[in-house]
Symmetry: C2
Subunit: 430 residues, 2 copies
C-alpha cells in the first residue's frame, strides 16, 4: 500500500540536498552538496516528506503529480538573504557617471546615489512600490530564488520606511516567492539631517524602530513566525560603531534580531559589534580584517558576501570569502539587488562570481546560496535544503550536474521552479 | 495610399539604430547610439524598409502585423563575432581544478583543457555536434544574439575539422540565428604532433585549408556570400608568428579572409601580423602593447575583446579596450562561448562586463555588440544596425532605455527577438 503524496519528482540525475543537521555549514561540510544519485523527492501539503533514491521512493509513494526530471539535477530553491529590491526610480544615469570615474562615496557625497532613490521612493505609494518590484521578483524567481529578504532603507523617514515594509508584506502575499522583511532606517543619513547623524539615529531609535516593531506585531510575518530584522549601515559617512550599537540595541529591546552592513569600504569595528550583539548575519565583509574575521568564525553569525557589488564597481577586490571559510566562518551569498550598486537579480551569477573571484568551489557556492543563506535569515529550520519536514522549495536544472549552475554564466539553467510543492515557473529553453 | 509592409513596430520609447555610414564606428561615433525617440521600424521581405518617428511611419505604411512596443526600447539584434559554440563534452571538472589554482596554460600543458574537448569532438558525429549546440544557440537567441560566428578548432584533424564546419552549416539551416563559419585548424597542436608544431602547421596549410576551402565552395555559405574565415591561435605553446603567417597566407591564397587570436597571454607580434594581412578582426588583445594598439587603430581591422574570458579566469586584468578606443580603434565585443574559458551565451552580460571592467559607456558597448561586431564578420553592409536595406534583425527590450541592457546584469531584458522580420522568440517575463 503506497503512501499518497501531492508531488513526486523522480529520475533526478542527482539531488543535491544541501542537508545540514547542525545549523549553517562550515569548513569541510560546506564542500558537501549532500548528493543522492538517481534521486527522487516526495512532497505533500507544501512540505518535503521524503528524499532518496528514485527506486525506493517510487515504490513507497503514490503521487497526484509525478515529474520526471529525466536525469537533470534537483537542488533546493535558492535563498537571497540580502536585497533592496523595493525601490522607485532607477540609477542608469549614475551608472554612466561611475564608468567615467566617479566613486560610490563621491556620488553619495554629491547628493546623488541613494538620495535620488530616496526621493523617488518617498514619492511612491505602497502600490507603486509593489508594482515596480513585482517584475524584479519575477526575474529572481525565474533564476531560482524562492525566498528573498527585502530591506527598507530608501524612505529614511518614518512614513516612507513603513510603506516599504508594507510593500514587502504585500509582495509576500501576492508573489509566489517568500519574503523576509528587514527594517533598515539606518541605511543612510537623509539630506535634512546632513551633519546631524546623531539626531537622525535618535529618530531611528525613538520613532522608527518602535513604529516598525508595532507594525510587525500586527503583520502576517509575525503570525507565521517570520522575523523582522533590524539592520544598520555601519560605514564612514553613514553610521559609526556607537550609533550602530544604539540602533541595533533599540531593535533588540523591541524583539528585532540583528543584521548589519559592515566592512563594505572601511573596517570600523562593525563586525565585532554585530558578533557581540548576536547578529543573525553580518553582510559585505569586503574590508574585514583577519582579527575580526576570526571573531566571525568563532560566532553563530553568518557572514554574507555580495560579489555583484564588487563586480558592479568594476573592482578587482572582492571580500576574502575563501579566508573566512578557511577560518571556519559560516558563509552565505546574496545579490544585494538594488538600483545603485547591484542591479542584479541572479543568485546563479553571484555563485559564478564567487567561484571565480572568491575561489569558492561549486559545492560551497551552492551551500552558501541555499542552507547557509536560509540560516542568514534565521529560517534554516524551514528552508534551504531538501530534507523531510522542510518547505518543498525545489529547482530542476537544465543540467545533470549541479556544478553547471556555477560553471556556466549569463544564461539561465533553472528549468523548473517549485515553491511549496507547486510548480510556479517553467522556463523551458532560454 | 499607404505602402504595404510585413511588420511595423511602433511606439518604441526609443530606437537605438546604431547606424553607421562608413564602416565600423570609431572614436566619438562609437558613443552615438543613433537614437530616434518615439520610433518605429517597418520591415518587408525580411529587410528593414524604413525607420523613423512612429507618427511618420504609421502614416506611411500599412502592415500585415503591427507590434506595439509600448514605450520599450528597440535595438539591432546582437552579433556575436567570436564563438566556439560547437563542441562535445564539457569541462566542469576542470573548472573545479582551476578554482583550486591551476592556470589555463598549466591545464593545457598537462594534456587537459582543449585536448579533452578535442577528444570528445573527434568522437562526435555531425548530428551529435548539432544536437548539443542547438540548445546553446537557443540560449544565445533568447539573450538577443541574432547572428553568431562559429569556429572549428576542436577537431585538429582534417575529418573532424570538416565535421565541425558541416555542423555550423547545419545549425545555420536549422536555427533562426544566422551563422558565419570560421576555420580554425590552427587552434592548438594536437597531442599526436606534440613537439612538432611545424609539422602540424604543414598539415593545416597543405591538407586542411584546401579541404576547408573546397568544402566552402560547395556550401550554402558561399552561395549567399557569407565568408569562411581562416583563423589561428598565435600564442606561446600554440603557433608563433612565422607559423601563424604561413597558416593565414595559405588561407588568403584560397580566398579565405583572415581572423586571428592574438595577445591573449603574450604579445608575440600577432596583432601586427593580422593588421599586415588585412585581417577582418584581431581578437583577445589582453596583452596588446600600445605600439601594436596604434597599428590596430590605424588599420581597417576590427579589434574584438572577450571580457567573459577574463571573468572566467577570475582575473582582475581585462583587455585595455578603453585605450584602444581612445587611440581610434574599431572595437567589437564577443562572448567567446566555449566549454573551457567562457561557458557564457550572453552578449548583454559581456556588455555589462565591458562597461564595468573596460570602462565602455553603454552606447559604446551597444555599438561594439552590433554594428562593429557585424563589421568584425565582414557583414557590416547587411546586419548590425537599424537602417533601410539591412536585414530586419531587431530586439524589443523590457526597458525604455537601451542603457539598461548594460546597466542591469544577470537577468534577461530581451523581451522579443525578431529575425529577418519574423518574431522568433518572445521571452515575456523572466
Amino acid at each position: 500500500m503506497k503512501t499518497p503524496v501531492d508531488l513526486l519528482i523522480i529520475n533526478a540525475g542527482q539531488v543535491a540536498t544541501c542537508a545540514s543537521q547542525d545549523g549553517p555549514k562550515r569548513g569541510p561540510a560546506l564542500r558537501d552538496p549532500g548528493l543522492i544519485d538517481h534521486g527522487a523527492v516526495a512532497c505533500k501539503d507544501g512540505l518535503i516528506v521524503d528524499v532518496g533514491p528514485t527506486d525506493a521512493l517510487a515504490a513507497r509513494y503514490q503521487a497526484d503529480e509525478t515529474v520526471d526530471a529525466n536525469g537533470r539535477a534537483v537542488i533546493p530553491g535558492l535563498v537571497d538573504p540580502h536585497t533592496h529590491v523595493v525601490y522607485a526610480g532607477d540609477r542608469v544615469g549614475e551608472f554612466e557617471l561611475r564608468i567615467q570615474g566617479a566613486s560610490y562615496m563621491e556620488i553619495m557625497a554629491a547628493g546623488g546615489g541613494i538620495v535620488s532613490t530616496m526621493k523617488a521612493t518617498r514619492a511612491a505609494s505602497v502600490e507603486e512600490l509593489v508594482a515596480s518590484a513585482l517584475p524584479r521578483l519575477d526575474a529572481m524567481l525565474a533564476l531560482g530564488t524562492t525566498t528573498a529578504e527585502i530591506k527598507s532603507g530608501y524612505g529614511l523617514e518614518t512614513g516612507a520606511e513603513l510603506r516599504m515594509l508594507q510593500a514587502a508584506a504585500e509582495l509576500d502575499a501576492r508573489h509566489p516567492m517568500d519574503i523576509v522583511p528587514t527594517f533598515l532606517g539606518a541605511h543612510a543619513v537623509p539630506p535634512e539631517y546632513a551633519g546631524r547623524t546623531d539626531d537622525y539615529a535618535n529618530l531611528v531609535v525613538e520613532e522608527m524602530i518602535p513604529a516598525a516593531a508595532a507594525w510587525y506585531e500586527g503583520s502576517d510575518f509575525a503570525a507565521r513566525g517570520v522575523p523582522l530584522f533590524n539592520d544598520v549601515f555601519c560605514e564612514q559617512n553613514a553610521f559609526d560603531v556607537a550609533q550602530s550599537r544604539r540602533v541595533l540595541e533599540a531593535g533588540l529591546a523591541r524583539g528585532l534580531p540583528v543584521k548589519a552592513h559592515v566592512d563594505e569600504f572601511t573596517p570600523l569595528g562593525g563586525l565585532s559589534l554585530a558578533v557581540e550583539l548576536g547578529a543573525v548575519s553580518a553582510d559585505h565583509l569586503d574590508a574585514t580584517t583577519p582579527e575580526e574575521g576570526a571573531r566571525l568564525a568563532a560566532s553563530g553569525t553568518v557572514g554574507v558576501v555580495l560579489p555583484a557589488v564588487n563586480f558592479n564597481l568594476g573592482s578587482a577586490h572582492f571580500a576574502d570569502a575563501r579566508s573566512l571559510i578557511d577560518a571556519g566562518a559560516a558563509l552565505a551569498l546574496a545579490t544585494d539587488i538594488n538600483p545603485g550598486s547591484a542591479p542584479c537579480p541572479s543568485m546563479p551569477l553571484v555563485m559564478a562570481m564567487a567561484c571565480r573571484y572568491q575561489k569558492l568551489l561549486p559545492a560551497e557556492a551552492l551551500n552558501a546560496a541555499t542552507i547557509n543563506a536560509a540560516h542568514a535569515l534565521a529560517l534554516g529550520d524551514r528552508i534551504g535544503s531538501i530534507e523531510a519536514g522542510k518547505q518543498a522549495d525545489l529547482l530542476i536544472l537544465d543540467a545533470a550536474d549541479y556544478r553547471h549552475l556555477a560553471y556556466e554564466f549569463g544564461g539561465n539553467l533553472v528549468r523548473t521552479v517549485i515553491k511549496r510543492g507547486r510548480i510556479v515557473r517553467r522556463n523551458g529553453k532560454i
